[in-house]
């Protein structure tokens, strides 16, 4: 048995690390390490792409968490939910109330968010998972729209409707008061207590006055605009109200044990750590017995019935786990920017995470993150293109009469700028038709040489960027950096076409295929089969669980 195993390319199943019965193979551990380094360096790596602002990179990280969590349901069990954005919203609202009622410290918020999402996902999953396929998708969509509408109506007091719920310095914040956290700066504890007591005394006075339904000049008092000026007016009208005591300004920015979330890259690094932990969790889960059961659900539920298993238990668990990651993403959004708007729950947001999973490649752990990166980054870039200027330029340069020029010049309006979602949809459609496995499968299709060329041309971007910035003083126009990548794309598209034509020509003349040795189609190595983990680091990340040449799940 052992001898047989060591002859197998999958022999490394018996190497690796084990903790609490959870195992990680060497390849997976290397993949996780590589991923962690790339994420921690993300702000640097995004520099040439003009995408390293803290808010850009933390959004990429949060969407990455959402997408990787979503993949636990979609990628492993094959159940396509169109309603997961609702759980992002629920996580957001739960987290904002933790920030308002408990403490500005983000840790309780990050715990409360996923728990709330998971609790609500449990009955929804129990109901929707009675159906599969398109019926399941429609049911989840219906539930998410229902929750979205409820956020505006029944739960308006919790969600504050369209404006969204925010933190404010007047929030109660029990834990903060008990431990003396996030109190007004430069005051002693006794001063704060006294000021708070005076304020609550005044509030009681105000409430007593409200109960009398007082009027000024025959009109009821407008309690909505209560400030020093209106209070003075009330006093002059003879109402029983004293001057509002001085409020001590308390902070309202979420913080992590003293570091506020709006300082430098703190927010990004918190998200990055959570993202890396999410990645490791997803890797461990896929290698576990539970992950194997999820794959079994995707492949053949009938067989599971006849071997004493109840598939629904696993799908429900996967549903709740993925909803909890959605809730975690929602909580992180709020922790980074203390505002919970309802748009986060909209069904288009649910669609976006599906697009991220499919673009990046579902089934693998890193694929959904790559999808999130692409959608978030290109979404920002394409939507910020100035279409009017583009239109103008086209009209200037083209020599045609206006009635021909106009439609050409206005075509980009549909796909860039405000219409970027249509552009994204177009890319998505092309992708699903021509590359159903997503970005990850594109990588797996390439020959080793193509992979190497890709990495080189990608690396050249950084080389040009560094030279330009530190030696030439930003003399080069921005687009020059991307020339190597453009050259690579042209090569990657042209090469299979050229080799295909060469093969056709050879077939016609009856000769040997001149390109047989290294054509893209001819010598396409199965992923991971000849690429050792060291030689091809990205294969480590992109390996799919059902990959025949991949190591079987490890034993403990």
């Amino acid at each position: 048995m052992t001898a047989q195993l060591s002859n197998n390319p999958a022999a490394d199943i018996d190497n690796g690390f084990s903790f609490l019965g959870l195992r990680m193979t060497r390849r997976d551990a290397m993949g996780a390490a590589l991923f962690a380094v790339a994420i921690l360096l993300l702000p640097l790596l995004m520099l040439p792409f003009n995408g390293s602002a803290p808010s850009t990179v933390y959004q990429i990280a949060i969407f990455g968490i959402f997408a990787i969590g979503f993949n636990i349901l979609f990628g492993l069990t094959g159940y396509l939910s169109f309603g997961h954005a609702a759980f992002v919203g629920i996580g957001s609202y739960a987290a904002i109330w933790s920030l308002k009622l408990l403490t500005l410290n983000i840790i309780p918020a990050l715990i409360v968010g996923p728990i709330a999402a998971g609790l609500i996902a449990l009955p929804i999953g129990w109901l929707t998972l009675r159906r599969s396929g398109i019926y399941f998708s429609i049911l989840t969509l219906a539930f998410s729209i229902m929750l979205f509408i409820m956020a505006f109506s029944v739960f308006k007091d919790i969600t504050n409707g369209q404006d969204g719920q925010r933190t404010s310095q007047f929030d109660v914040r029990v834990i903060d008061d008990v431990f003396g956290w996030n109190q007004p700066v430069g005051k002693t504890r006794d001063e704060v207590t006294a000021a708070n007591a005076a304020l609550s005394e005044w509030n009681r006075e105000l409430a007593a006055l409200k109960r009398t339904n007082p009027e000024i000049n025959g009109r009821p008092v407008d309690w909505g605009t209560l400030n020093d000026f209106t209070i003075k007016n009330m006093q002059e009208a003879g109402l029983q109200i004293s001057t509002r005591p001085d409020q001590l300004a308390r902070p309202s920015i979420p913080e992590f044990f003293g570091t506020p979330m709006n300082r430098g890259y703190t927010n990004f690094y918190i998200c990055a750590v959570v993202l890396i932990l999410t990645y490791i969790f997803a890797t461990l889960l896929r290698q576990s017995s539970f992950g194997l059961m999820l794959l079994a659900v995707k492949t053949n539920q009938t067989r599971m019935d006849y071997m004493g298993l109840k598939p629904k238990r696993y799908t429900l668990a996967a549903f709740v786990i993925s909803a909890m990651f959605a809730g975690l993403a929602g909580a992180l959004f709020v922790a980074m920017d203390p505002n919970a708007p309802p748009d986060r729950m909209e069904w288009t947001e649910s669609g976006k995470v599906v697009i991220m999973n499919i673009l990046g490649g579902m089934g693998s752990v890193v694929g959904p993150f790559i999808g999130a990166l692409i959608v978030k980054y290109f979404g920002n870039i394409i939507s910020s293109i100035d279409v009017s200027r583009l239109t103008h330029t086209i009209e200037e340069t083209l020599p045609f009469p206006a009635f021909i020029e106009w439609p050409i010049a206005h075509l980009p309006h549909l796909f860039v700028g405000e219409g970027w979602e249509l552009g994204m949809g177009l890319v998505f459609m092309l992708m699903v038709i021509f590359l159903p496995g997503g970005g990850v499968s594109l990588w797996q299709r390439w020959t080793r040489r193509t992979k190497r060329l890709f990495l080189i041309s990608f690396g050249l971007i950084y080389v040009i960027y560094v030279i330009d910035r530190f030696l030439l003083g930003n003399a080069l126009p921005g687009w020059t950096m991307f020339l190597p990548l453009v050259a690579f794309v042209v090569y990657a598209i042209a090469r299979p076409i050229l080799s295909w034509r060469a093969r056709q020509a050879a077939k016609r003349t009856g000769g040997e295929d001149p390109n047989a040795g290294d054509s893209a189609a001819g010598k396409d190595p199965a992923p991971g089969s000849d690429d050792s983990a060291v030689a091809d680091p990205v294969a480590v990340l992109t390996r799919k669980p059902t990959d025949p040449s991949a190591p079987a799940p490890a034993s403990a």
Binding site: G21, L22, L292, G308, A552, A554
Partner: protein, 253 residues
């Protein structure tokens, strides 16, 4: 002792009486073959044992427990495993994973996965799955994807998936259908090997050579009813069966 008792099962599809008052006793430790011409109702009978079909009338007792009214999952948990006429496997997964899934299902007595416990037992689970694959002669293919295997290997894989659960009763629906002569003989050998463990089996088979090599008891079905039952010698000698079905095709000539 009778392990499986079938009493007066009836099942009709529209006007067609696929099962018309079937009675059957399967003794513990026997290999009980059910033979009969195509369309006699053999597969339908097996479907009622595992909860795939609900009979219109009758009762089925397994080891004293009522089988009817239970769903396939619960019936499997009683100790009945079945191999389908067309293999039901996890096509996208590796052979080893295919067998690990039923092994995991059985390991935890409640047929639920205790995440931590299941992870702890992973090595023993995997060893059991490897043994089951070795038993059916698939040890060298265990890392291959199930979908890429030959039809015969898929059947053997499904058999391994049942064996790893060590059921009290194993149901086989035409285990050699569509197999070459060599493959058929290999399967006979394999099933004989398994028999030495004393697992009770019900085999539906077309090939008389297989039936007479394996079975200790035979029921003959025709048009939805059992027309004869006995030892292989009795069946071979029975004029009625000869006439109705075997017609000189004893498989031992």
């Amino acid at each position: 002792m009778s392990l499986l008792t079938v009493n007066g099962i009836k099942k009709s599809f529209g006007g067609l009486k696929a099962l018309n008052d079937v009675n059957l006793n399967v003794e513990e430790g026997t290999v009980h073959a059910v033979i009969g011409p195509n369309g006699a109702g053999k597969s339908t009978l097996l479907h009622t044992f595992v909860g795939k079909l609900k009979p219109d009338e009758g009762a089925i007792l397994f080891n004293g427990d009522a089988v009817l009214g239970k769903d396939p999952t619960q019936i499997n948990q009683l100790g009945i495993s079945r191999v389908f006429q067309t293999p039901e496997i996890f096509a996208e997964l590796s052979m080893l994973e295919n067998v690990m899934i039923p092994a995991l299902a059985k390991e935890d007595g409640t047929f639920t996965i205790n995440p931590l416990g299941a992870a702890m037992n992973r090595r023993s689970i995997r060893e059991r799955a490897e043994h089951a694959l070795e038993d059916v002669g698939l040890a060298d293919k265990m890392h291959g994807t199930a979908a890429n295997q030959s039809r015969g290997d898929k059947r053997r894989l499904e058999l391994a998936m049942c064996l790893v659960q060590n059921p009290r009763l194993l149901l086989l629906d035409e285990p050699t259908a569509g197999m070459s002569r060599t493959d058929t003989n290999n399967t006979i050998e394999l099933l004989q090997k398994i028999h030495s463990r004393g697992m009770t089996k019900v085999i539906i088979e077309h090939d008389m050579h297989v039936v007479f090599s394996l079975s200790t008891r035979i029921s003959v079905m025709a048009q939805g009813a059992v027309i004869e039952e006995g030892t292989p010698e009795q069946i071979k000698a029975s004029a009625r069966v000869q006439e109705a079905y075997l017609a000189g095709n004893t498989g031992e000539e």
